[in-house]
Amino acid sequence: MTFSGVISTGWRSTDGKRPPTFLVASSAIVALAALIPVGYLLIRSIGAGSDWFDIVFRANTAAVFGRTFMLILLVTIISIMVAVPVAWLTVKSNIPLRRVLSVASVLPLVMPSFVMATTVIEMYSPKGVLQGWLSGLGVNRLPDIYGLGGATFVLVLMTYPYVLLTVRGALRRMDPALEEAARAMGYGPMHTFRAVTLPMLRPAITGGSLLVALYTLSDFGGVTLLRYQTFTSTIMIQYQSSIDRTLAAVLSLVLVVIAVLLLLGEGFTRGSGAYHRSTVGAVRTGRRFDLGNWRWAGAAAVSVPVLIGLIIPVGVLVHWLVRGLLNDQQLLPLLIPARNSLYVSLLAAFVTVMAALPVAILAVRFRSRMSRFFERSVYIGFGLPGVVVALSLVFFGINVARPLYQSIWLLLFAYAVLFLPASVGALRSSLLQVNPRVEEAAQGLGRSQWGVIFSVTVPLVMPGALAGGAMVFLLTMKELPATLILSPIGYRTLSSSIWSAASEAFFAKTAGAALLLVLVAGVPTAYLTLRGHGDKVGDSDRLMKIDEVAR
């Protein structure tokens, strides 16, 4: 088997096939649902006065665009640089505390943006906790964290897990034969990673980065607290102070345009290579590399984002909690909100992955302009501020789905619309690693197209489904605008409790709810993260000695 052989063996063989009707129909429905926010914005923009033109093209708009793109670029690049090594080390190496670090490195994703930003400010602001620690060294004031630096910092902490989760899914599914072949040909570990592993990870990296970029475009809490003006913060501030829906709609359409540009940009980086195994034979689990004494350095490297993104924010929260309790602050009743959060987030993860499945299968197995359009359209909502998507679903609920309004169903629908891209992306990169010949064989043996999808495709893309499900779960746990606006009245979740306390400077209450959020999110995350290949008990003996292979 040679490399060129692998790369040229095509998944294009499925092109030109007619996709089954049920697949097209269900994908079309999902895409239509995902485009509700855009439809709403178009309807709301009708009748806009001419003042929108002045506002969109105000003198400093070019500068706001520049700043927004700058932030997106920096956050995306740094997130990749953090996530890919962490993914490799936690999946492919034998670093100590590997499982704990696997779970902990994903958890910064669950921190609501305003909580993360507030803890970061408390810690690193000019007169923050860090300055207090350094005051003995004569440091009276730290440099301002506000602005591009601070905003990038906070957003990287909250978004690198998108890349981490998708890349991990891909690493687990990767055919170990490729890396082994490279090693056998005398490639060193670094060279193997660059020449073999990295190119194979491309769909996962670009898929995850797209989520990072779109999230950065849409973030409001983090950037405003860190005082960095982006297009979204401009819209939201305009909106909060004037409550002018038409104006907000027109401005949000500009965000749609930016999101489309990002999608096109990502489209260009997609190749047409094959990412699946070309050979027959049983799936082998990739062996992990024995890093020798370097494994301690590896663990230390993975610990850095865990420390900065999870342990320090949790430490600040614990500090708030203890300080408040010492001053007789009450905590919120959290049992029911925790149960509601867990319940609705698990349901949302399941519903969203199911809705994403036909879109991903259609996009990968039956490539056409139409399937591509369906797949891309689910991403647009992710680049919009959550409030805009939530209001569009209020509009939809009141005018179209009246019986579902303020029921848990419309809420789940909203979560699916918001977080489809997370699961579509993960499923897509997983599906790319499955050789279509397997499905063809099953069909050749007499299975129906339905049968093939449920008995062959779905089980094979389980790693992607789990990674996507984990992401949707964590995103739903912390989601705020849709949760506040669309929940059944009186339905409390942890994120709404956190917001309720934080918005009025109840620090102990905020901390209590936020700590519980991390804790409650941790358990399913542990299950979903560790449940891949190579994490069963007793496989630690299957290590590959780097020196042996390289020799």
Partner: protein, 344 residues
């Protein structure tokens, strides 16, 4: 390759499990809709951590169940506008008159006895909303760096160059906009503009809202900040008396100590208007007003309640005589802020 039967089973089992969960959800959600009369619904832009106990009191006193939809004032206003006549809301409880003004076409006029229980400046001139509690604009200052004697009589003096690099503010905050709107009324456009230009020339540190501004004053990141008064008391309650910042109510009679209100309006399409009026009266009653005074560190708007002894008496605040209903030209204020470079 062989098909992994165990895996298929796992998928099947998860599907079955989740369908069961979904059925459960249906059962739960349909059970709640069985009562025939429409539930009494409050949309509250005031946070649950502030007013949940007050709602519970009302439920206990009246024996009526209240369903509260909590959210931010501006988001709830937008939600109400989207819902229009189909809104389930009976009452909209907003953090500031701006939110109520945005939906005033959906509000109905309040009866005279309700309006009469607050001073004239604290309700809508069109009688569409009524203030429920007062919040003052103050200057929060760091007590390690300044004493109250170091602070000038009027907010106008913070535009002097001696305050360069020492001020913090939140130029996007609605209460600040209300204060500047009041300045434009009291001082006129030119004087307000030169004040703003002076402040901007003093390179104030910019914060997203009141809470981080107060935190920065306490940490000594800034010496003074222009904020609403009650956040400081939250910080003292959490951190203790050692929190190194206090409020200064400007001595001069000027918009620097403007008193704003949170307020409430009754939705025109409500089917529970009697209960809604009962609710609004409860907020303005002795127990309601006492709750705001004691628990949320706000100013009661009538004599039914004893003011909080941590706060000056409302009568002693040198507030300008301005009707809050007149502070409507927020767009003009935002344009002015933009022209002087305080807002993007």
């Amino acid at each position: 390759m062989g098909i992994d039967v165990a895996k298929i089973w796992r998928v099947v089992i998860s599907v079955v499990l989740f369908s069961m969960l979904l059925t459960l959800a249906v059962a739960c959600s349909s059970g709640e809709e069985s009562s025939d009369s429409k539930p009494f619904v409050v949309y509250s832009g005031r946070s649950e951590s502030l007013i949940a106990p007050l709602i519970a009191d009302f439920e206990e006193v009246t024996g009526q169940k209240v369903q509260v939809n909590y959210g931010s004032t501006s988001t709830l206003a937008a939600t109400l506008l989207e819902e229009g006549d189909n809104t389930p809301a009976d009452v909209y409880f907003a953090q500031d008159p701006g939110g109520l003004g945005a939906v005033d076409s959906m509000l109905t006029e309040l009866p005279a006895d309700i309006l009469a229980s607050v001073p004239d400046w604290a309700h809508d001139p069109e009688n569409k909303w009524v203030g429920t509690s007062g919040r003052a604009r103050v200057v929060v200052y760091n007590t390690d760096m300044l004493t109250e004697a170091d602070l000038p009589d009027s907010i106008e003096d913070f535009a002097n160059p001696e305050w360069k690099g020492r001020i913090g503010w939140a130029p996007t905050n609605g209460s600040l906009h209300a204060m500047i709107t009041a300045m434009r009324q009291e001082w006129g456009e030119d004087r307000t503009r030169s004040w703003l230009e002076g402040i901007v020339a003093n390179e104030p540190k910019i914060y997203a809202k009141n809470t981080p501004t107060v935190a920065a004053a306490g940490a000594g990141e800034i010496e003074v900040g222009f904020v609403n008064h009650y956040y400081l008391h939250r910080f003292i309650a959490e951190v203790g008396e050692s929190f190194a910042a206090r409020n200064y109510y400007t001595r001069a009679v000027d918009p620097g100590s403007l008193v704003l209100v949170a307020g409430v309006g009754l939705i025109e399409e409500s089917d529970n208007k009697d209960l809604a009026k009962q609710f609004i009266k409860f907020l303005l009653s002795a127990s309601g007003q006492q709750y705001f005074a004691s628990q949320t560190y706000e100013f009661p708007l009538n004599d039914n309640a004893k003011p909080n002894n941590l706060l000056p008496a409302l009568a002693d605040i040198t507030k300008p005589s301005i009707d809050l209903g007149d502070l409507i030209d927020l767009a003009g204020t935002q344009n002015l802020l933009r022209e002087v470079g305080a807002l993007p």
